[in-house]
Assembly symmetry: C2
Homo-oligomer: 239 residues x 2
DNA sequence: TGCTGATGCGTACGTCATACGCAGTGGAGT
DNA sequence: ACTCCACTGCGTATGACGTACGCATCAGCA
């Protein structure tokens, strides 16, 4: 009835059926969006681009996600993924927490766009809750009460997020020339010296990225360990 | 000459001059944008809204900033502001670094929208460089070499950023009901217990926010202190 | 063979960033 | 005094975006 009569008259194939595409599902939409964000970054994410990548029309996405904001939430949950398995470290809270921190950092490394999202107001999803639960369990052998374990977790979590910034994103330090140009009176002397020395070290270290991460992580865990001693055992204050 | 003759004939005030508005400057544009972001958040920031707040036309802004991305950069620099003065803490790297961390946190508290920006790729501006320089100088009495001081700074910086998330933004933990509903088998038992205990403590603490921040900061500095002892003095490893 | 709910999509609207070029202004050079 | 010109402000237009709305198609079932 709505078909143009030509087709009927000339007997063209009755192409009333849609081209056989895999059905659209919420999962496929979120997956495509994550892939797009991984490759081109969050700013490039638009409903139109996601739909295009799926070979669907823009408005079709709205059958599966309520809107873009909700899509981003779902993307975040998917990128976070299931909590790491720390069973192999049972009893050793320090090793378990270190593994947890590294797994956490890997998420940010795999999906850099999650980093700004992690520092924006949002609701905690099941995966993120599972990560938190895993870390709290890892800390159980420490003997700390639950609320103190939460504080420790905030600390470690904060460190991971903060240092992941320097994996991708984060401030690119100004060039030595720029520093010299704008601070000819030695205003940035220490910064320039530190950057120069760090560059030499990085060259020497060659293929060991993440050295700075491990350094900081060790310091954080030292601090926690000291605290646990003080809180559970005697006084562990370093003075 | 280009005036319509009516005005001339009827002697209306010669309103050829513009209404006497303060001239638009880059500073005024950036200031208005910061104020807008402070009040309504970064998503509400549009060139049109900024122009409106200034009583100017949208396109006028482009005479003073190249585009929105650059405006946001300038806003960030302005929000960061000048580095804190740590002269009063000369010689005491721990106290100076703690002050620096608190000042840093205050920036995020005053301008919550800077937090996601701080965790996105960007160039380091003069103010941010000055903050870094100030911290490196504060660490000079520790005796650490410049590159190691940079690592320490990354650590502290990361902690501040990470914990500032919980000032504003960050994951709002699910309600106890939600946890119970989705993990009836005790999947989130530790999390639920920790949240409940933390809530009780928060109620008891009453008007002392930032307690969690100070807790974590003390742990971080403990770790750094331990490291400095080990690196500069003898072996300070806690085992 | 019609009915019904689920799914895909075309159109339309409002908001956004911004390219382009004109118009008023005020100062410098004649 | 007059001309010129750089600077500043702005009106219009374009194209991308998110999404409300309602029609078209289809699978399953009566």
């Amino acid at each position: 009835m709505t078909r143009p009569p030509d087709d009927l008259l000339w007997g063209g194939p009755a192409e009333t059926r849609r081209p056989a595409r895999p059905r659209l599902t919420r999962d496929r939409v979120v997956e495509a969006a994550v892939r797009l964000a991984d490759v081109e970054g969050l700013p490039a994410l638009s409903m139109q681009r996601v739909a295009e990548d799926l070979g669907a029309a823009t408005m079709s996405l709205y059958r599966h996600v309520p809107g873009k904001a909700e899509l981003v939430m779902l993307m975040f949950e998917r990128a976070v993924g299931p909590a790491p398995d720390l069973a192999g470290r049972r009893g050793d809270w320090r090793a378990a927490l270190a593994d947890w921190a590294r797994a956490n950092r890997d998420v940010f490394a795999r999906h850099p766009w999650t980093l700004p999202l992690a520092t924006s107001p949002r609701a905690m999803g099941p995966n993120e809750a599972a990560w938190t639960e895993a870390a709290l369990r890892a800390l159980a052998p420490s003997g700390l009460p639950p609320a103190a374990r939460l504080d420790v977790l905030l600390l470690v979590n904060g460190y991971v997020r903060g240092s992941a910034v320097d994996l991708d994103g984060g401030p690119t330090p100004p060039s030595a020339q720029a520093l010299a140009a704008h601070g000819p009176d030695g205003r940035y002397a220490e910064l320039a010296a530190a950057l120069a020395e760090a560059e030499i070290e990085a060259e020497a270290a060659g293929g060991t990225p993440g050295a700075a991460f491990e350094f900081g992580l060790a310091r954080v865990l030292d601090g926690v360990q000291l605290y646990i001693r003080g809180a559970v055992g005697g006084s562990g204050r370093p003075g």
